[in-house]
């Protein structure tokens, strides 16, 4: 493994569950908000739903752009 990859993808310490799951919990919360909000109303609630459910998709796009080539 080269050093470049090491810096990009590896952490310098063993992470706690809190650290490992911090971002997944935020993305999960966004998904949940998105799933519920479009049920609550139209217009602004739909927009909120789209933005919130976009979060996990955006996280994947960001990770893909940052991937250790």
């Amino acid at each position: 493994m080269n050093r470049y990859e090491s810096r990009l993808v590896r952490t310098d310490h063993l992470q706690s569950p809190g650290e490992v799951f911090r971002i997944p919990i935020w993305l999960g919360a966004a998904s949940a908000i998105g799933l519920v909000s479009a049920l609550l109303g139209d217009d602004i609630w739909d927009v909120l739903s789209w933005l919130a459910i976009l979060a996990p998709v955006a996280a994947v796009i960001l990770a893909w752009r940052k991937r250790a080539k």
Binding site: L14, P24, D46, I53, P56, V57
Partner: protein
């Protein structure tokens, strides 16, 4: 539980359900867009008429349908006020107790009471997709089986989340190692796409399982609330002189004035009693549009018998539908639904790949020149941690 146990649970719950989940994800993809696809392939539209043209009476519409298909009976009539405000859909069958799948559709213009179309409802690409998705052409057992597979998928998701921790202790979120072996590459994608779709896939999986129980839930409602409301009619002879439908729908509307009728189930069908027209009314918000409220009208007198809110288990079923279909937030939500569905397909496919390319035990690693891929040491480390007091 040890990581090894979770690993075993993840492997077997996934292996059993993966083929079916792939089928569901693939067939579900076109189903997300069924409205758009039906529009493109040309569903019938009501011809333009001056605004405010009054509707024909419901009895005349029923008469039109009965004349079009002599010898058959009407089981349901329904309306799609938002999409097709001037159309009445009539669902007919050879008899009231014909199999529930039988659905001879007659589409009638609500204003002129003219037949607009008699579409075939049991052929074509979308029909095959729907059947594969709901019961694999295997009826109720197929449907319940897919529901069970949905539950197994939830087990796979939960165990996958538990395993995410030992795999990711040394890795940043979203780590995608492209320079390593193909196996490491797909492991990273499996972990990333798996963890970001957890909430969505769990909700779609569980609501899908609830939807497979629709006939069970309907049967419960029949024995419970429906039986209570129609208790005085028990043992009465079947309806011979049905009341006017138009009078009946007026009685239903008067009973629930703030909602609109979206379906009427005729006497003797799954959604009604032998002695009633059951009108299902919907509200105008996304939630109340799903939480249908029944109004039972005596099919002999045309007078209201009762109208109650559905019990919690039927409400759960009703709310499970939009959360499974993704059809409650416009086209952008459907597109996101499709993207997350594609993510799920990659998670399933990479999962199978990772299982097929499973690393041999440490002693047999010569066949794999790269040696053990990342997860194995990580797993060993966790096990060692757990072994410590």
């Amino acid at each position: 539980m040890s990581t090894r146990t979770w690993s075993w649970i993840h492997k077997w719950s996934s292996l059993v359900c993966t083929v079916f989940m792939l089928l569901l994800c693939l067939t579900g993809l076109p189903l997300i867009f069924h409205e758009e696809i039906e529009h493109l392939t040309g569903v019938v539209e009501a011809p333009p008429m001056p605004a405010g043209t009054p509707n024909a009476s419901l009895d005349r519409i029923a008469q039109t349908a009965l004349e079009r298909r002599p010898g058959e009976v009407i089981r349901y009539m329904f309306w799609e006020q938002d999409e097709h405000p001037d159309i009445t859909y009539v669902s007919m069958a050879r008899s009231v107790d014909a199999p529930p799948e039988e659905n001879n559709a007659v589409i009638v213009d609500s204003r002129s009471a003219q037949v607009l179309d008699e579409p075939k409802t049991n052929e074509g690409f979308m029909y095959v997709m729907l059947k594969l998705h709901t019961d694999m052409f295997a009826g109720l057992p197929g449907m319940l089986f897919l529901g069970l597979m949905g539950l197994l998928m939830v087990v796979a998701i939960v165990s996958g989340v538990v395993l995410y921790y030992p795999f990711m202790r040394r890795l940043k979120f979203g780590a995608l190692r492209a320079q390593r072996s193909t196996r490491v590459k797909w492991l990273d994608w499996h972990n990333l796409l798996g963890i970001v779709t957890v909430v969505w896939l769990t909700v779609v999986g569980l609501t899908g399982t609830i939807n497979t129980l629709n006939r069970v839930i309907l049967g419960l409602w029949q024995m419970d609330q429906m039986a209570e409301m129609t208790a005085p009619y028990k043992g009465l002879p079947p309806v011979t002189q049905p009341a006017h439908l138009e009078d009946s729908i007026r009685a239903a509307r008067a009973a629930v004035p703030d909602m609109t009728v979206s379906l009427v189930a005729f006497p003797g069908t799954m959604f009604s009693s032998p002695h009633h027209y059951t009108f299902f009314l919907k509200g105008s918000t996304p939630v109340t549009a799903r939480l249908l409220k029944p109004a039972l009208v005596d099919a002999t007198t045309g007078k209201l018998t009762d109208s109650r809110d559905m019990p919690w288990y039927v409400k759960t079923l009703f709310l499970s539908q939009p959360l499974h279909f993704g059809d409650y937030g416009g086209l952008p939500l459907k597109l996101l639904w499709a993207v997350l569905d594609l993510f799920a397909i990659v998670v399933l496919g990479s999962g199978v790949y990772l299982w097929l390319r499973k690393p041999k035990s440490a002693t047999a690693s010569k066949a794999h020149p790269e040696g053990l891929p990342e997860p194995a040491p990580a797993l060993r480390r966790t096990n060692a941690n757990e072994a410590a007091p």
